[in-house]
Amino acid sequence: MTDDPSTTAVTDVSGPAPMAHPPAGPVTNTGVSPVPARSPRSKLVERSIGTIALVGTVATVWLGIWVTPPDRIQGDLVRLVYIHPGVAWVALYLAFGLAAVSSLLYLWPRTRSLFWDRLAAAAVEVGVVFSACTLVSGSIWGKPTWGVWWAWDARLTLTAVLLVLFLGYLALRQIPAEPEVRARRSAFVALFAAIDVPLVHFSVNWWNTLHQGATVLNPGLKLKIHGSMALTLLLGFVALTLVFVWMLLVRYRIGVLEDWLAANELDLALIERQSEGGGPVDGGPVGMGAIDELSTDRVVVA
């Protein structure tokens, strides 16, 4: 079924589905529900955030590499400070925090909605990417400064454990199930993992600490570095946060489409097989043409 042309056609859809938008349009007689539509406003929001994130990232790179001075002790290595803490902030606080909160909101009967489930899934997936980037950028930094690629330091260990915990979450989501069953199961797992985080945090802290203390998020939020460096650092945080938001929006939208595809896969394949025999289905003008149209925007299989 995955070789089905309709699969590729649908992943090419260049932009449907705003957050929690109900499938719009008339239900047709083919049994295929319409592709979730996407309002122009949500498209605009997504593109604006994407553009600002891109500009911010480019500006951070420019400032970080060409404008800011090298550090007295660390030399050019210090430039990693514009990326590494920002990526870690997104991964460890934003992404996994959001995943935990939305999982909780899904489990709470009053706020139960697939919206929270998809948001949690999107946050975890983006968070996994960011935490992998945290570990990689940390390793690149650790080799010249600490002399090793990996140290069993408390924060590194915590990040690694988090990554593994949420990889487990993603593995669980891969298992085919009814959307509600999958949502509940995943929400429980995310919740248990989130509860484990402080416990892992304390245990690895007592176990070993090598990493420097928090530079940016120290009590009182007093920046310990100055001038253009502080500005670049701040810009990096903002830019990476926006990158996260943009990826989250896109991933959420893909999640909506995936659910739509899972629900309509069979009907789409049927339409296609029937159209191979030539002639319309159910008297309607439905055939390969309708499926081809899926690759364009806002299509209703009619």
């Binding site: 454990v161 915990l165 298992i175 416990l199 892992v200 007592w206």
Partner: protein
């Protein structure tokens, strides 16, 4: 709740008493693991004695996975799970009962493994009560989390492969705490560092037992 827990635990232990799966498969597996660790770390007894606390707990973790798989699989055939739910047993009681049965089996296993560590690796235990308490608390934590994840994964066809992946990272604090307490108990001296870790284990146990008691009903519905 407590009566239901005792009933369920009694049932699981009776099944174990008759089938002897834990005794004839899980326990020998633990011993095999100890022997393999010895092969991996070489015949130097000093190295092995030093690594004994960690090796003990890793062996316990692996055995926990097996014990949980077994605890889930006794419910998976003949519609036993539905039967249990229909029987009107309190979900919290069911949870505590399953966890208790697993914990009881693990305690026996740990006695065996501890003896193995002392005899095979030459580990010297200076403060036995700390070892005992750490095993008790650690086992409760493992049984509490394991039973939760066992229930979550019980309906899945990929249960065997998914369960260790989900459970083992969650149990990381138990491994860390258990190992450190053992190290403290083997070194002797002041039990101050050990106490800190014992408190962590207590928190871990209380948190996950509470979650299980509250959420086991809803979790069962997802399976």
């Amino acid at each position: 709740m407590w009566r239901d827990a005792a009933l369920v635990a009694g049932k699981d232990l009776r099944i174990e008493g008759r089938s002897r799966v834990a005794l004839s498969q899980v326990a020998p597996f633990g011993i095999v693991a100890l022997v393999l660790f010895a092969f991996a770390l070489g015949p130097d007894r000093q190295v092995m004695a030093k690594g004994a606390p960690g090796l003990f707990w890793v062996a316990v973790l692996f055995c926990t996975v097996l014990a949980i798989q077994r605890s889930v699989s006794v419910e998976s055939s003949d519609g036993a799970r539905d039967g249990l739910r229909l029987s009107g047993i309190d979900p919290a009681g069911l949870y505590l009962g399953k966890a208790l049965a697993v914990a009881a089996q693990l305690i026996v296993l740990e006695l065996l493994l501890a003896a193995g560590v002392v005899l095979l690796y030459g580990a010297r235990i200076q403060v036995p009560w700390m070892i005992a308490v750490s095993c008790l608390l650690g086992t409760i934590g493992l049984a509490a989390t394991g039973t939760l994840y066992g229930a979550l994964s019980s309906g899945l066809r990929v249960r065997e492969t998914l369960l260790p992946f989900l459970l083992l990272p969650i149990a990381a604090p138990v491994l860390l705490a258990g190992t450190r307490i053992w190290q403290a108990a083997m070194a002797g001296g002041t039990p101050a560092t050990g106490m800190q870790w014992l408190r962590l284990l207590v928190v871990f146990d209380v948190v996950y037992l509470a979650i299980g008691v509250v959420l086991f009903g809803p979790i069962q519905e997802t399976a």
